[in-house]
């Protein structure tokens, strides 16, 4: 999912012959995709097709064995603050710090993201009825998924990548 319409023909995301090898086996190979600005693109495939591998390379969490990723026309070669700020990510198991409260989690988001939108985070929790003082470990799976999604949205990244977003369907969409 990409936000903003500025761009003038430059795709929001482009991967060029992207590949990742795990040991001797390729998790993904020769993957070239392009997602235009303003689009919502879905990625479908059987288990082990390399979906998460692709998404983790797009977000910069995983280093490709070969090929290249460009986000809004800029090649991601090194993990820089600017490259990281361009992509919001919700991993499939919604990892959060279990001993943090929801408010602590958003405090982390604010401290680690220059574009952090605290108002968006607070209003989403309000709309979902999740009290900020609740510990993450005391939340239901669906609520955790929503906190995770809110972390990615409040980062205000122009490209948002969701792994297994079906588990997020119960909440309001911004």
């Amino acid at each position: 999912m990409t936000q903003h319409d500025a761009g003038g023909g430059v795709p929001a995301l482009r991967t060029d012959r992207l590949g990742r090898r795990y040991g001797r086996a390729w998790g993904l190979r020769d993957c070239t995709v392009e997602v235009p600005v303003g689009a919502i693109a879905g990625l479908v495939g059987p288990n082990g097709a390399g979906k998460t591998t692709l998404l983790e390379m797009i977000t910069g969490l995983l280093k490709p064995t070969e090929g290249q990723v460009s986000v809004f026309g800029e090649a991601s070669r090194a993990e820089t603050a600017q490259a990281l700020a361009r992509v919001g990510y919700v991993a499939q198991d919604h990892p959060l710090y279990r001993d943090f409260t929801v408010a602590d989690t958003f405090h982390l988001g604010r401290a680690m993201n220059p574009g952090w939108d605290q108002e968006l985070a607070a209003s989403r929790m309000d709309a979902l009825g999740i009290p900020p003082q609740r510990k993450v470990k005391s939340l239901s799976g669906g609520q955790r998924a929503q906190v995770s999604l809110t972390m990615a949205l409040a980062k205000r990244a122009p490209l948002v990548v969701l792994d297994e977003p079906v588990s997020l369907r119960s909440g309001p969409w911004p």
Partner: protein, 223 residues
Amino acid sequence: MALIVPGLIGVLVGGSLIARELEHGTWRLAWSQSVPRARWLAVKLALVTGGLIVVGAAMTAVITWYRAPMDQLTGRLQHNIFDYEGLVPTAYILCAFGFAVLAGLLIRRSIPAMVAAFIPWLAIRLVVEFVFRPHFMTPLTMGLPASCQSASGCSSGISSVPQVTGHIGDWVLTGPAARVITYQPADRFWPFQFIEAGIFVALTAVALGATIWLLHRRAVWTA
């Protein structure tokens, strides 16, 4: 027992620092924010290292206060005294911490990382104490005093009785049996502290530097 306490503190804090993120999957959260992971780690290490220095200094201060009357009788250069005062206890903690952080990144699991860091820490700790420390500076030598010519007259260990060298607190390396007494004088306590603490702080810096470099390299694309 007290020998291993600094090592335990260090590995307990360091082993889970990165490994916990890898075990629980929270690395995907932490490293997808707008802070490069090497910087994320550097900040974390600075804060935790600062905390460990405070803990180490406080522990050492309490032990030194408790031992002060005994130190007057024995000096502070002997085994089992030197190791708990001054700078070295904190340096031991930091070294174990550094090893455990590096092991946590390489092994990716907290408990195995703690074990894998503790063993080399203990080995180095003992080798430095028994092999290198006696030669940090050239020992002084002196002939055998007349009173010691008969076998058991002089003690060379920790004793409230002034030793063969005549000064309380000198660390006697080779006693009367060797015919020549070699010893480290008591006033070398602080130089020795700086040397030994320096060794362990340098090892800490190498381990932590390697960890940051490895994490950074893992994130920088070569393609």
